[in-house]
Amino acid sequence: MPVSSYLALAAILFCIGLYGVLTKRNAVIVLFCIELMLNAVNINLVAFAKYGIGANVTGHIFSLFTITVAAAEVAVGIAILIALYRRRESVNVEDMNTLKR
């Protein structure tokens, strides 16, 4: 079944993204990793739209929305990161320690 390979790909991407979000120190990379996770979802959706149970075009529509929203989300993320960078001169997540753990 071809869908399983897509699913596996998506799962791997999702896990890589999650791993990156949790471990990476560079804030930009963290944002990339989030994007990776969201794109894993897109792969899933599109794969299901073609091969899923009751495949239909809804998956495509959903992924369009996902793309849009993810773009907005990451745009805001980077905007905040820039604001942060201008004050802190660093994109290292570990430097963000003003708020105590």
Binding site: L64, T68, A71, A72, I78, A79, Y85, R86
Partner: protein
Amino acid sequence: MEYTNHYVVLAIFFLLAIALPIVAWTIGRLLRPSKPYEAKLLPYESGIDPYQQSWLQFNVRYYMFALLFVIFDVETVFLYPWAVAYDVLRSDIGLFILLEMGIFVFLLIIGLIYAWKKKVLEWI
């Protein structure tokens, strides 16, 4: 699977496009000289020796444009399907489809006006 062929062609174009520079450089490597020395490998700064890396912070203005780009680029994600299906939808529900997109675009235009008023669009 009749559309596979089209994508195969696209893939061929891609591969070809990648192959061309590689081939060209490989040939070039055989032909061209290579005599690097320090001054040659310095970045060109109109004759002044560079004293720092050029990887600096650059104006945030660039990011503003990038953001605006994202907004309107994403808008087209919805505009294109709408435009393609316009005739079909119009015959069903009439001009409402236009109104709908009008609302959508209107909100984006508010965004543009916002950026305009906030002087984001001015390049200093």
